[in-house]
C-alpha cells in the first residue's frame, strides 16, 4: 500500500474499528442491560427487512424511549414516529438475527446519510447494535421464532443504474470535462503535480510537536514544513546507527565497488519555531553532485513526510553538529514561540541557542521530501557568512564554523599506507588576497586540514589534483589556530549565489603567489620559500629513475625481448618515452635561518618545468660536487617536513605549487 495514501489510512481506521467492535461485543455479553438513555443511542423497531448485495436493509421506526418501559399493549405502531432505513452488514445481521417487530439499540458511532431524492434517512456504520428483549413473554416468542428459518427477500440491483457524481442542478458543468468547479480554491487538474499523495493531513510547522505527538514509531501522514539551512554529506560508516544490526552501514547494499565511500545526503532544517533537525536522506552515488543539491535546495522550504526518528542528540554529544547550529543562531527573522498566540512573535535576541536536536531519517524506500525549487528563498535562511582568511585567523573562539573562498596552492596527502585512500587526511595550503596583500605579522599561506570525515565530491578531488583552483570552503571549523574541514564542511568549486560577504575581499589574486620565507618561526608541515647557498650535497641520496609516461609507475622493468626497452606492468605495455625522475638532497646555508642546517630534498620529473637546482645538476653530464658548491639558489618553494632542535635541522622538500 502507498505510504500516506488513503488505502493505508482506511486500513488503520478499520483495524481500530474492528478492535472497538469486538471489545464492545465482549462488553455486551457481560453487561446485560446497558442503559439505553445514554445519549446517541438510536432505538428502532424493525418493520421490514430485505437484503441488497450483502447489506441488510431494515425499514424501521424510530422509538423515543425504550419499549421495555412500555407495556406490550402500548407498543403499537404509531404512524407519527419517523421511519428510518437502517443498514446492517452481513456480520452484524448474523449477530442480531433480527426479525420484524424486534427492537434494536444502535450505539454510537453510527452515521446518518440523507439522500437527495428520498425522505427517509439512512443509518450506516451500525456495528454497535444490540437487540433488546422486551419481556419474558416475548422471550418465549423469540425462541419459537428462532426455530423457523426466516426468509429474507433479496433485491437484485440492476447494473444499468450507474452513479452520477455531479450536482444534478448545476447544468453548466459537463460531466467529463476538466475540473471547472468554482468553489475549490485549487483546481485539481489531472496533470497537476503539486497535488501530492492524496489527503495528507494539514501541514504542520513545528518539528517538536510532530516528534512529541507521534513517538518514535514513525510519522505516516503528518507533514511538517521546514526551511533547508544547509545541505551536506555524511560518511555512512560514521553515520548514526539505527535499527540495523551491528556496525553495518545503513546503505551497504548499494555499494557495488570499493570506491567511492558510501555517503548520505543530509539536510539541516529549521522550523518556524527556530528548532533544528538533521535529516539523513538517501545515499549518493558517485555521479551525484553535492554542489547541485546545495545550489537547488539551500534556503528553500520543504515538506517532510514519512520521517522516522533516529535519535535525539545533545550539545555535549554532537559537538560538530552543534557548532554548525551555533553558526546559524540567532535566527535572522523572529521565530514563533510555542504555546503563545502566534500574533505576538517574540524577538529572538533573548532566545538561548538550542541544546538538543533530533536526527531524522526517511522510512526505507521512498523519499518524502518535497522541495519547492521554484519558490523563493525563505526569510529564515542564513547563508554562510564569508570572511577573508585574515579575519578568520583573528577569530577568538574555538570550534567556530567559518566559510571562505581561497586559492589552493599545494596539496599534500597523508602517506600512511595502512589507511585506505578514501580515509586519508589531506593538507591543503591556501591563500587569498587578504593574506597575500599583508606586509607583516600574519602568514601568507594557511594550512587547511581535510579530515576523512569531510566528504569530498569526485569533482573536487579531480580539480585539486589538476591545478590551482579557487575553492569555496563552506562551514569549515576554526579552532586552536587551525582550520579543519570535518563532517558537514562542504568544498565547492563555485561560489554560492547567496552568501553574505561580511566585508571580505573576494577579488581574484593578482600577481604571482608569494610564500613566507623560511625563518625562525617556520613550523613543520607548512610551506615556505627559501634562498641560500649550496654548502653540501648528500651524494648517497642522488637518485634518478625512469617512470612510465602513461601511469607514472616508478617500477619499470626491462623488456625480456629487447633489453634496451622498458616495460610497465601496470599498463602492460612497452614504455617508449619514459619520464626521468631525479632526486637529490642538498644542504643550504640560508641567511634567514642561519643557525639551522637546511636540508632540501630536490626532485622532479624532467617533462615539466625545470627547477633551479636540478637544472644545474642535469646539464652537468657528470656532476661534480665542487662545481655546485657555493652556487646561489634563489627562492625555492618548499614543504617543511620536520624541524628539529637538537641537531638544529630543517628538512624540506622542493614542491610544485598548483
Amino acid at each position: 500500500l502507498c505510504r500516506g495514501g488513503l488505502a493505508e489510512r482506511l486500513c488503520r481506521l478499520q483495524n481500530r474499528e474492528r478492535s472497538a467492535i469486538s471489545f464492545w461485543r465482549h462488553q455486551c455479553l457481560s453487561d446485560d442491560k446497558i442503559p439505553p438513555d445514554k445519549s446517541g443511542v438510536l432505538i428502532v423497531k424493525i418493520l421490514e427487512i430485505f437484503e441488497e448485495c450483502t447489506i441488510q436493509v431494515a425499514i424501521c421506526q424510530q422509538l423515543e424511549q425504550s419499549p421495555a418501559t412500555l407495556s406490550p399493549e402500548d407498543a403499537v405502531i404509531n404512524a407519527e414516529e419517523p421511519i428510518l432505513k437502517v443498514l446492517f452488514t452481513r456480520e452484524t445481521a448474523a449477530h442480531l438475527k433480527s426479525r420484524p417487530q424486534d427492537v434494536i439499540h444502535i450505539y454510537p458511532p453510527w452515521q446518518k446519510l440523507l439522500l437527495q431524492n428520498a425522505d427517509v434517512p439512512v443509518i450506516m456504520n451500525t456495528y454497535f447494535s444490540q437487540k433488546v428483549l422486551l419481556s419474558e413473554h416475548s422471550e418465549a416468542r423469540e425462541k419459537t421464532y428462532g426455530l423457523t428459518k426466516m426468509l429474507i427477500r433479496k433485491n437484485i440491483i440492476s447494473l444499468a443504474q450507474t452513479f452520477r457524481l455531479d450536482d444534478v442542478d448545476d447544468k453548466s458543468h459537463q460531466e467529463f470535462s476538466d475540473n471547472q468547479v468554482p468553489c475549490a480554491p485549487q483546481t485539481h487538474n489531472n496533470g497537476d503535480s503539486k497535488w501530492h499523495p492524496l489527503a495528507l493531513s494539514a501541514v504542520n510547522d513545528s518539528l517538536l510537536e510532530m516528534v512529541e505527538s507521534q513517538g518514535a514509531v514513525g510519522w505516516r501522514e503528518a507533514q511538517v514544513q521546514v526551511v533547508i539551512q544547509r545541505v551536506y554529506c555524511l560518511p555512512a560508516r560514521e553515520g548514526y546507527r539505527s535499527h540495523t544490526q551491528g556496525n553495518k552501514p545503513l546503505c551497504a547494499a548499494s555499494v557495488t565497488n570499493s570506491d567511492p565511500p558510501n555517503v548520505r545526503l543530509c539536510l539541516l532544517v529549521q522550523d518556524a519555531y527556530g528548532m533544528f533537525s538533521e535529516v539523513q536522506l538517501q545515499s549518493l552515488s558517485s555521479t551525484d553532485n553535492i554542489e547541485q543539491y546545495c545550489r537547488r535546495w539551500e534556503g528553500k522550504s520543504c515538506c517532510l513526510a514519512g520521517i522516522k526518528i533516529l535519535q535525539r542528540t545533545t550539545r555535549g554529544r554532537a559537538l560538530g553538529l552543534f557548532s554548525l547550529i551555533d553558526s546559524l543562531w540567532p535566527p535572522v527573522v523572529p521565530v514563533k514561540v510555542p504555546g503563545q498566540s502566534q500574533d505576538s512573535e517574540m524577538m529572538t535576541t533573548n532566545l538561548p541557542p538550542p541544546s538538543f536536536c533530533y536526527i531524522l531519517t526517511v522510512q526505507s524506500g521512498e523519499i518524502h521530501v518535497e522541495v519547492d525549487e521554484e519558490e523563493q528563498i525563505s526569510n529564515l535562511y542564513q547563508p554562510p557568512a564569508v570572511h577573508g582568511l585574515k579575519e578568520i585567523l583573528r577569530i577568538d573562539g574555538c570550534n567556530e564554523r567559518c566559510s571562505f573562498w581561497a586559492q589552493v596552492l599545494y596539496r599534500r596527502l597523508q602517506t600512511k599506507h595502512s589507511v585506505p585512500i578514501d580515509q586519508r587526511e589531506m593538507l591543503l595550503f591556501v591563500t587569498d588576497s587578504t593574506l597575500q596583500n599583508v606586509v607583516h605579522g600574519i602568514p601568507k599561506v594557511v594550512a587547511v586540514s581535510v579530515t576523512a570525515s569531510c566528504v569530498l565530491s569526485m569533482e573536487i578531488i579531480e580539480a585539486l589534483s589538476a591545478g590551482s583552483r579557487l575553492v569555496f570552503f563552506k562551514d569549515a571549523l576554526w579552532g586552536n589556530g587551525r582550520i579543519i574541514c570535518v563532517e558537514r564542511t562542504v568544498l565547492l568549486l563555485q561560489k554560492p549565489l547567496l552568501c553574505s560577504a561580511a566585508g571580505a575581499d573576494l577579488s581574484e589574486l593578482t600577481g604571482p603567489v608569494r610564500l613566507d620565507e623560511l625563518d625562525s618561526t617556520t613550523q613543520a608541515s607548512s610551506v615556505c620559500a627559501l634562498r641560500g647557498t649550496v654548502v653540501g650535497v648528500n651524494e648517497s641520496t642522488a637518485f634518478s629513475w625512469p617512470t612510465c609516461n602513461r601511469c607514472g609507475n616508478g617500477k619499470l622493468e626491462v623488456c625480456p625481448q629487447d633489453r634496451e626497452l622498458l616495460y610497465c606492468n601496470q599498463c602492460s605495455e612497452v614504455v617508449t618515452t619514459p619520464v626521468l625522475k631525479m632526486q637529490l638532497e642538498v644542504f643550504l646555508s640560508c641567511p634567514s635561518r642561519s643557525q639551522s642546517t637546511v636540508k632540501v630534498k630536490v626532485w622532479h620529473e624532467i617533462s615539466a618545468a625545470l627547477f633551479v637546482l636540478l637544472t644545474m645538476l642535469l646539464f652537468l653530464q657528470t656532476y661534480e660536487v665542487q662545481s655546485v658548491l657555493g652556487k646561489e639558489v634563489g627562492l625555492l618553494n618548499c614543504y617543511v617536513h620536520s624541524i628539529t632542535s637538537h641537531p638544529n635541522c630543517v628538512a624540506l622538500e622542493e614542491i610544485v605549487l598548483l
Partner: protein, 138 residues
C-alpha cells in the same frame, strides 16, 4: 432499491469534501468500508497509485481502464456497471454479493478526487479495446 442511492450519495459526499478541503474525512472512508466491504481498501489503493485512466474518443465515447495490482489492464464501462475482471463476473454477476468490483469503485473514487489520468484515443482504438475483450471471453 436502496443501496445504489446510498452508494451514490456517499461518493458525492466524498467528492464534495475533497473539493472543499483536499481531504477525505475518516468518517467517509469508514462509510466506504461499510457499504463496499472488502473492495474499499483495494479500490483506494488503486486510486493512490493513480491506476485509473479515462479514454475518450472524438465522438465522445468514454471508457475506463484500470491497471490492476497484477499488472493486468481491466476495462470498465461508463454507461453501465461492467468490468472485465473475474471478480466482477463472480461477485456481482453471479452471486450478487457486491454492487461493484474494486476497479469500478476505483473509477468512481478517481472521478470524485480528480485522480483520473486522461487519454485521448481514436475511434478505432476504442473499438479495438472493446472488441479485444470480447475475443478473450470467446
Amino acid at each position: 432499491s436502496t443501496l445504489p442511492a446510498v452508494a451514490e450519495e456517499l461518493l458525492r459526499e466524498i467528492k464534495k469534501a475533497f473539493q472543499e478541503t483536499s481531504q477525505v474525512p475518516d468518517v467517509l472512508l469508514l462509510g466506504l468500508k461499510f457499504i463496499f466491504g472488502p473492495s474499499a481498501v483495494p479500490a483506494l489503493d488503486l486510486v493512490d497509485q493513480r491506476s485509473v485512466t479515462r479514454l475518450r474518443s472524438p465522438s465522445g465515447r468514454i471508457l475506463y481502464q484500470v491497471l490492476g495490482s497484477s499488472g493486468k489492464l481491466y476495462t470498465c464501462y461508463s454507461s453501465c456497471h461492467f468490468c472485465t475482471c473475474p471478480a466482477f463476473g463472480f461477485s456481482v454477476l453471479q452471486k450478487s454479493e457486491s454492487l461493484l468490483c474494486k476497479h469500478i469503485l476505483a473509477v468512481y473514487l478517481s472521478q470524485a478526487m480528480g485522480a483520473c489520468q486522461e487519454l485521448a484515443v481514436s475511434e478505432e482504438q476504442l473499438t479495438n479495446i472493446l472488441l479485444a475483450e470480447e475475443e478473450d471471453e470467446g
